[in-house]
Amino acid sequence: MSTALLDVRDLVKEYPGTTAVAGVSFSVPPGICFGLLGPNGAGKTTTIEIMEGILPPTAGEVRYRDAPLGERFREEAGILFQKTALQDFLTVRQCIALFRGLYARGLDVETVIRMCALEKLAGRDARKLSGGQQQRLLLAIALVNDPAVLFLDEPTTGLDPQARRNFWELVQSIKAQRKTIILTTHYMEEAELLCDDIVIMDRGRIVAQGPPRRLLHEHFAEVLLELPRQDFPPQARSLPLHILEANDRIEITTDDLEGTLRTLLAAQVPLANLRIRPPNLEDLFLELTGTELRP
């Protein structure tokens, strides 16, 4: 018997002429925030929609509490889609009440309004909310059944930095209640801040899986040197260094900072614009796929 809350087994989703998900398997233990990362078109949303029971897979299966997705899953799952429209002419409170009425168990409407800091907006027409406020309302709707598992599909895409940070705080407070969260994002900062375990997807396949710190430790030495591409002469590309080429910059990872700097100076690479920083998930994605996460 599996101890995982969700088991994804050999998932395949094919559309005419394209394979969106090409044999993906992973498990999500209870009580963690699990991240599905990848660029646009990697298959994240398709994978999460199959996990949500919205989209049927071409092959493979998703199991919840060691059983196929069914009535119990629908009662216990909370979902925030990448894009959702609500019924017109309803206030924030009425929208939440509508969804509360669809579940046998859940939280009181006023409690959810408080949880998502919507008290001042409760009587407002839901169509007149800003992007950040709208996302808080959609999160409130996803929480209305007090879910055991919460799916967040790119919840902060399109939000301004302040609204994004506010949303992260909300998610962290939900995470503190030991709820299982499945998060898809292409913001690495978001994944690093919120996720305990991640899967990195590219072209419908998993290219790395594990806790973010462990993955970074496994793939990188201690520091990363970053140079503007125009400062890096073509002949320097043949230097005996671990060089990654991003769109507008060159990245070099090393555990011998002094030796690397000496090599660069000897090759007459200007270091005026050099940045030294620890590697992050964005670098990991570049390392694993050879492409940047956000083109």
């Binding site: 889609f81 429209a85 019924q87 669809l102």
Partner: protein, 335 residues
């Protein structure tokens, strides 16, 4: 300005032409309308008089009177129903072929007076049975049709487009992620629209009754039952169209394909009595025909539950069948 207008025009035309299903319907609908209109309004000139013959069919060689020109002879199997029509001057004469030949004439009807002369010229021995009764005003006959037409449009378009909008906006997809079933969602839509339609119909019934008055001798609770079943059947019919499609043009085309035949064949504006048997058969496939036949029977002739039971049964069965089909074929998201 012209360049911007042309850009938008071009994009919209491309969108329309590439939506194949909608394009085909837009082209087929006018052709279907022309064919339908030619069947309903085509053929020879309308006769001057309408005479009911008490029999299952009319054989024009059975009596000299039946060979008269400009008289429409209509087979009427049931004497009671035919006498009601004669009393309301919906037919001008009722004849039972002999021997001896008998006929009923409404002494208050000018057309009855003339057509009686024609009958007696052809068969002077025919036995006269007089009845009397004022002509039913066209508005009395038309009123149930107007109520029914309003109900039909509200049922079909009101629900169909709402479900389509929900699907296109992604609201249905969000609902799909909850324990809500398709049958529950559709039932809620049906009941919501039913409540609206009953309210509007009640206001029209009372309002028009108060302003211009109309003839209604039947039971109001029976009319309410009829309105409920009729609206349920037509709302459910609208849902079968909106259950899976995502194109406004296609859904609009399909709804037009349903509404136009009902407008022409269900008896909103004129009676189909005397039209070809197959036209009447087609007409009785539509819920609106049953609503109007039953409503007129109750309002004009005072028919009771037993007399309109077949219509009520048809509406109840089709409501359940359409709703079941709608739930089965329902799509929460754009395919």
């Amino acid at each position: 300005m012209i360049r911007r207008l042309l850009s938008v025009l071009h994009a919209r035309n491309l969108e329309f032409v590439r939506d194949r299903s909608a394009l085909i319907f837009s082209l087929l609908l006018p052709v279907a309308l022309v064919i339908g209109m030619s069947f309903v309004f085509g053929g020879p000139e309308r006769p001057l008089f309408k005479v009911g013959i008490l029999s299952a069919s009319v054989n024009r060689d059975a009596a000299p009177f039946l060979r008269e020109h400009y008289v429409q002879f209509v087979a009427v199997p049931q004497r009671d129903a035919a006498l009601r029509e004669l009393t309301h001057q919906q037919i001008d004469l009722l004849v039972e072929l002999g021997p001896p030949q008998r006929y009923w004439v409404n002494t208050d009807s000018p057309k009855g007076y003339i057509v009686e002369k024609l009958l007696l010229a052809a068969d002077p021995s025919a036995q006269r049975q007089p009845v009397s009764g004022a002509a039913l005003r066209y508005v009395d006959w038309l009123f149930p049709g107007i109520l029914g037409m309003n109900m039909m449009f509200s049922c079909l378009f009101g629900v169909g487009y709402v479900v389509l909008r929900y699907r296109k906006s992604g609201f249905l997809k969000r609902l799909h992620a909850t324990p809500l079933s398709a049958f529950e969602f559709l039932s809620a839509q049906v009941l919501s629209r039913l409540l609206l339609i009953l309210t509007v119909t009640a206001i029209l019934y009372a309002g028009i009754g108060a302003v211009i008055g109309f003839h209604s001798v039947g039971s109001v609770p029976l009319l309410i039952l009829l309105a409920v079943l009729g609206a349920l059947s037509m709302i459910a019919l609208g849902l079968t169209i909106a259950a899976r499609f995502s194109s406004e043009e296609l859904v609009g085309g399909l709804l037009n394909v349903l509404t136009w035949p009902m407008m022409l064949l269900s008896g909103i504006w004129f009676s189909l009595e005397g039209s070809p048997r197959w036209v009447q058969w087609v007409a009785h496939a539509f819920p609106l025909t049953h609503v109007l036949d039953a409503a007129r029977a109750v309002m004009l002739d005072g028919a009771g539950l037993t007399q309109i039971a077949p219509h009520l049964l048809f509406l109840a069965v089709t409501a359940l069948a359409f709703l079941a089909f709608g739930a089965w074929s329902f799509r929460w998201r754009i395919e």
